[in-house]
């Protein structure tokens, strides 16, 4: 796997996930390099989103889920950490924009507030910085008290990114962040991701191969095996995966022979 890659921030070792007795992910080992964008692609139902949600332990919300193997953040097993502290370091942007039914300001300041920042001035500064980083400041700066639900879908999604940035995470997980958006809004999100990767490690799940090819530095291709468990088939630099894949199945998928 990519020997020229920078140091890995996130890594999984023989990671498997079960719904009850059903194995949904099988023995996944991957090193996700820092300050870059890693795309996870694969046919529907191959466990891409489930795998993504492993990095901030969101799968724990589903009753009956158990895991084996390790997920490491900076070399530390995340299952031995306090989940609240973990999720502060590993932010997430969801498929459908999910701003809270609160004002724009309250949405962005939500994270810093629960993590103990009370000072109004500090909060205002964080809100502005986050909204600027998420490239939405210019559109909303005149009315931060407006309900977040009054924004357009694309704006809502960028607001959600700002909300995630406000707690200063190290990693940002994005679960098909543009699938509910129109092409123009999608383009803006993709541009935004490029500027964010300077500071953050980004992992994105997408069903859109062109998007993966456009935005990511590294690509992981997942597929289900004969027992319907998700497997990591191939991982490497995006250029290599899309031009000279090592695995036959990757090639078939990329060239559109199935999926």
């Amino acid at each position: 796997m990519g020997t020229d890659a920078p140091e890995a921030r996130l890594r999984t070792v023989d990671y498997s996930l079960f719904y009850g007795s059903f194995r949904a992910l099988r023995d996944i080992t991957i090193d996700i390099p820092e300050n870059s964008i890693t795309a996870i692609i694969g046919p529907s139902g191959c466990g891409k989103s489930t795998f993504l949600r492993s990095f901030n332990r969101m799968n724990e919300l589903i009753p009956g889920v158990t895991v084996t193997g390790k997920v490491l953040l900076d070399g530390e097993d995340i299952f031995h950490q306090n989940v609240v502290a973990l999720r502060r370091r590993v932010g997430m942007v969801f498929q459908r924009p999910n701003p809270f039914p609160k004002s724009i300001f309250d949405n962005v300041s939500y994270g810093p507030r629960i993590h103990g920042i009370r000072d109004r001035g500090t909060l205002a500064a964080i809100v502005e910085r986050s909204l600027r980083d998420a490239a939405i400041w210019e559109e909303v700066k005149d009315d931060l008290q407006k309900s977040a639900l009054a924004l357009s879908g694309g704006q809502q999604q960028r607001l959600c990114i700002a909300r995630a940035l406000a707690v200063e995470p190290e990693v940002i997980l994005m679960d098909e962040p543009a699938s509910a958006l129109d092409p123009v809004a999608t383009m803006r999100i993709e541009e935004l991701m490029q500027s964010l990767k300077q500071k953050y490690t980004i992992v994105i799940v997408t069903h859109n191969m062109q998007q993966a090819a456009r935005v990511s530095d590294y690509t992981a291709f997942m597929m289900t095996d004969e027992e319907r468990a998700g497997n990591l088939v191939e991982f490497g630099a995006t250029k290599k995966i899309f031009t000279t894949p090592a695995d036959r199945r990757t090639e078939d998928y990329i060239s559109g022979r199935f999926g």
């Binding site: 901030n56 969101m58 919300l61 009753p63 609240v84 502290a85 973990l86 999720r87 502060r88 932010g91 997430m92 969801f94 459908r96 999910n98 701003p99 809270f100 039914p101 609160k102 004002s103 309250d106 939500y110 994270g111 507030r113 629960i114 993590h115 008290q145 309900s147 639900l149 009054a150 959600c160 909300r163 995630a164 707690v167």
Partner: protein, 299 residues
């Protein structure tokens, strides 16, 4: 016109009549009660009726203040005792309880909301009144506002708990996931995201509970003592007022209806109007409270 066409048209008219009948019943009840209460309002005067402290139909004195105070205090007592518990129970069921508890408890609460009020009254009469009588306080007979408040609190508990639970559960899961992904604990998620989003539903649960409390009749007659008097502390400290006997507006109607004639009967209709207006005030106060907060809420 064909035979089919005639049937079709005839049925339309029949159904229209049914619709009209239902509507006219509403109007009829309203008009009838207003008409019957008019002499009381006219002869006694609205202000005398509302502020009069004496209710002696035999001497032509019709003051509703004792009953307004009775209804108000007993509802206040029930809300103080029952509301926090009911809301916590609703939150517990919607967000905290494991599935198996939910599966068992939810239908039981629905069942408890349907238990006849006379059964709650009976329980109050047989168990609570003797228990309250044990409190050593001058003039305490067991019957009174405290017993009535407890009975009422138990009665509104299932209503408020189940309606607020439904309201909390209907908050979209995306909000919860968003909050957790930002590093909230589940409690922070509940307090700062879920409860504010469910605010209007929770409020209507409270309004429903208040309406039920103000409108309860039989259970109140059974435990409150029914004496026409301003609730008093009987010389003790302020909380002692809850050991006072009282009468509710609803009880006033039920107890005296069957032998009232003339102005007395009209005064009972006026009692009904006052009760109705009271409930309307509670409803619109709640609605006003809701619309004041609408800006941050759902569109």
């Amino acid at each position: 016109m064909t035979r089919k066409g005639i049937i079709d048209e005839a049925m339309r008219v029949v159904l229209l009549c049914a619709g009209l009948a239902s509507l006219s019943i509403v109007v009829l009840i309203g008009l009838f009660i207003l008409r019957e209460s008019l002499p009381a309002f006219h002869e006694i005067g609205v202000w005398n009726l509302l502020s009069g402290k004496e209710w002696r139909p035999g001497q032509g004195q019709f003051g509703l203040l004792p009953m307004i105070a009775g209804s108000g205090l007993v509802t206040l007592g029930a809300i103080c005792l029952g509301l926090p518990l009911a809301l916590c129970c609703g939150i517990f069921l919607a967000e905290i309880a494991p599935t198996w508890i939910r599966v068992v408890v939810r239908p039981s609460i629905e069942l408890l909301a349907g238990i006849p009020s006379v059964v709650y009254g009976l329980f109050g009469l047989v168990v609570l009144v003797p228990a309250v009588r044990q409190i050593d306080y001058p003039g305490n007979a067991g019957f009174g506002l405290l017993s009535a408040s407890i009975v009422l609190a138990v009665m509104i508990l299932p209503t408020i708990a189940s309606v607020s639970e439904v309201a909390i559960r209907s908050v979209p899961d995306e909000y919860r996931q968003g909050a957790l992904a930002l590093g909230s604990t589940r409690w922070e998620m509940i307090r700062r995201v879920v409860l504010p989003a469910a605010r209007s539903g929770i409020l209507s649960a409270v309004v429903l509970g208040l309406g039920r409390a103000l409108g309860e009749t039989i259970a109140m007659i059974m435990v409150i003592g029914n004496s026409v008097m301003m609730p008093t502390t009987m010389g003790g400290p302020l909380p002692g007022i809850f050991l006072s006997r009282a009468r509710t507006l609803t009880g006033n109607i039920a107890v005296e209806m069957s032998y009232a004639t003339g102005l007395h009967s009209s005064a009972l209709f006026a009692t009904g109007v006052v009760l109705f207006v009271l409930i309307m005030i509670v409803n619109s106060a709640a609605r006003a409270l809701m619309s004041r907060n609408v800006r941050g809420g759902r569109p």
